[in-house]
């Protein structure tokens, strides 16, 4: 199996790794770096559970091959907030009651982080477009929508 040497900065820590050519970013994060907050639910980019932020863009880490993540900076759910603290988006998910089984939660939070980082005044349509990429089987989405709106307000300082 062909292998490549890559470097990758994850949550501020630099890693030098030898990966095989099929090894996805999700596998590197979960299996090598033990960052299991990034969830695997489909492995083909349909559900959004494995979403992380790479060079400021939300990506489905299960689809990202070594050539695409070599040299990149990645933020996962584990790196979103320091220590015991919560990021406002995490806080909003708790307060709005948007968490049930929790398996889809980190992916949603990372997608919204990337969105609001780029455009804190994203329109409802833009927020909906991002959330549409994700599947949640528990909540029926009402409270996830509420959480996204609450997070935006909190980040805007309202």
């Amino acid at each position: 199996m062909a292998t490549t040497n890559i470097t990758l900065v994850v949550n501020g820590i630099k890693h030098e790794l030898t990966v095989d050519d099929k090894e996805t970013l999700m596998q590197v994060l979960r299996d090598r770096l033990h960052l299991t907050g990034t969830k695997n639910a489909c492995s083909y980019g349909a559900c959004g559970a494995c979403t992380v932020v790479m060079d400021n863009e939300a990506v489905k880490s299960c689809l990202i091959k070594p050539a695409k993540y070599d040299g990149k900076t990645v933020l996962t759910i584990e790196g979103l907030s320091d220590g015991f603290d919560l990021h406002p988006i995490q806080q909003a998910f708790i307060q709005a009651g948007a968490v049930q089984c929790g398996y889809c939660t980190p992916g949603y939070i990372m997608s919204l982080y990337a969105l609001f980082n780029k455009n804190l005044n994203a329109t409802d349509e833009e927020i909906k477009e991002v959330l549409e990429e994700h599947i949640c089987r528990c909540t029926g989405y009402e409270f996830i929508w509420d959480a996204a709106k609450l997070a935006q307000k909190m980040l805007q300082g309202k």
Binding site: T36, K39, G97, C101, R137
Partner: protein, 777 residues
Amino acid sequence: MDNKHIGKSLLRTDAYEKVKGQATYVADIKLPGMLHAKILRSEYAHARIISIDTSEAENMPGVRKVVTGQDCKILFGACIKDQPPLAVDKVRHAGEGVAAVIAETERQAEEATKKIRVEYKPLPFVTDPLEAFKKNAPVIHERNIEYNRVSGFNPKEGTNIFHHYKQIKGDAEIGFNESDVIVEEEFFYPLLSHVQMEPHGCIACWDSEDSVRIWASTQAPFIVREIVGHMFCIPFSNIIVNAPYLGGGFGGKSDVSIEPMVAYISRFVPHHPVRLILTRKEAFTSSLLGRGMKGRIKVGAKKDGKLIALKASFYYSDGAYGDTGCNVVTATGFVATGPYEYEHCDIDCYGLYTNTPPVGAYRGYGHPEAHLMSERIMNILARKLNIPQAELMRKNFLSDGKTNAVGQIIRKGNGDLHKCLDEIESALFNKPKPAEDENYYYGRGIAGFMKTPMMLPNASSGAIIKMCEDGTFNVSISGIEMGQGCQTAMTQIAAEALMLPTEKIRISKEVDTQFSPYEWQTVGSITTLRAGNAILQAAERAIQKIKESVAMIAHKPVEDLKYEGEWMYSKSDKNFAFETKLLALSFLSPDGHGVGEPIETTGHYYIPGVKFPAPEIGGGDCCGSWTFGCEGAEVKVSKKTGEVTVTHLAIAIDLGRLINPMGARVQMVGGMMMGYGAALMEEILFNEKGFIKNSNYNQYKIPRLSDLPEKLTVKFVETPDETGPFGARCIAEHPAISIPPAILNAIQDATEIDLFEIPVKPKELLAKIGGANNGNN
């Protein structure tokens, strides 16, 4: 009663670790020496296995062991022992496990499975329940009647019928003769996948010949223990099943699914944990499916709308193995009437072997299938009688003193359907229906529901309460937190009972069969009722113990003491106050001797008086608890495409007592959206070879945010149930039950087209509308 915690929206106690990415699910667990398994799966829906050649696979890099079902004599099951851990002499569904490779890495295991050569002799197969019922159908289990089974399950020799449940009340023939109006229709509820976000996973490690540790994505760690114990004839006490957080269950992780297979294959590599995590595709093809019913219903009524007689038959495509489906079949018989009283009932429910993945529990457990028929037929009958459907429903609702199909007399404390229907009517009909316009037909539909938890008569829940030195409490239950919010609700119940702030209560976060109290399984929406009552008993015992200790220490009679959480007071002595935390480890007196016992108690609960259904005619006191409610839908149907847009979903449920408003609402909305998916989107499809052809998220579509209706109504009616904690009853599965019939009734209201199948197919609906219009012209 004035409650501090019950009825308040306590934020979820598990949310912090979930939003931080710290909550641990099975796939996140890494153990020393762990090996990885991949399964070679059948390419045929039904075939004899002629030979399996594993020699090449065994020599692949990293491979520790290749296991097949050859020579395996084990058949497992809780009610019907009909399933081998790996296929033995034949495969019964496409996707069934034929061989397992255990290797150093998942990739190595997968590569090696490709080198296994299997020779099959294909056999005729069947996936449709009515086809499977036919006399000349291919027989899937030749030994059908020979399997070990518990009593109450009735197979028919030489057929695919592994269970026939009959439910009789009165004499249906007489009833139909007395009826003025009779309607009869056939219905189809397809097979569905639960599509929990977390695919099934299991790790097993044999520590010695008779002891094994298992980590599983399961709603039922104690059932896993029981089944593994029977499989290998080892002491149950040596089987340690650990259930970490569960990424969704919906019934698809109840009973057992992949755990027996992982327990079986890991025995070939003792002292190594063996890990199997299903792919999404395997979750579709090789775990459990739900529903899969074809049925016929006939009802008779008097001119004034009084229901007289019901005859219903249900045929379930239960897949390759019957153990997980057999009780769904029976439960359907309990509720075939919907929430109405009929004097005469004749109900037949058949569980059929078919060449699909095994079918098991799926949110509602036979109730959604039954209600698709009962609530559609009420809509049809109402029109035939020229009575509004709501009036017909009200006239026949099960209520205080009425007798249901199983022969139980309904109590006031079972809930109030009339109030629920009032709520739905005012939510849906508070303004006139929009008039048909250029683009859309508009319609509104209603449906009732009732639900009972299916269970063993002695199915119990336990609770353990331990006071810590600082006066905080550890409370252990074995209800699995799979998203429904039981940890939060149990925190509120424990805090209320112990008269403490919720911060002083810590509910156990994972379940381990060696430490946690017994729990039959987390199914039937019953955790609040059963584990809640167990906590109340344990708390009562803890308070009693605290009182007895204080009585000894302070030389006061127990009756004089008043427990108020952190402090114990005296009724007669205003100046007396004793800090209860001093008793946690037993009281250490100033002179250094101990008084009383540490504050550590247990509680248990099972619903008293529940029995197995009566043989031959079914029924009796076989249902332990009832919950009633109504649902509604508003739709618009595109004149151009036939597409159905749901603009409003509504539920009113009599939940006895609201424990956590926010938690209950998210359960209701999530359940209604699951019903929405079933009504409009979801269906397992097979290709000509009997393979599931839509075994992925791109083809098996489930609701996304854009499907959420503009309007949602969630109403809670509170008629306390005297058997529930603080009056609460079961509610979790319920919102998924009657959304499909409510939507179909709304479509009828919009288009005058009666549909009998789900999911609704826009093209077919459009063609029917066109046909009806042409007919009218």
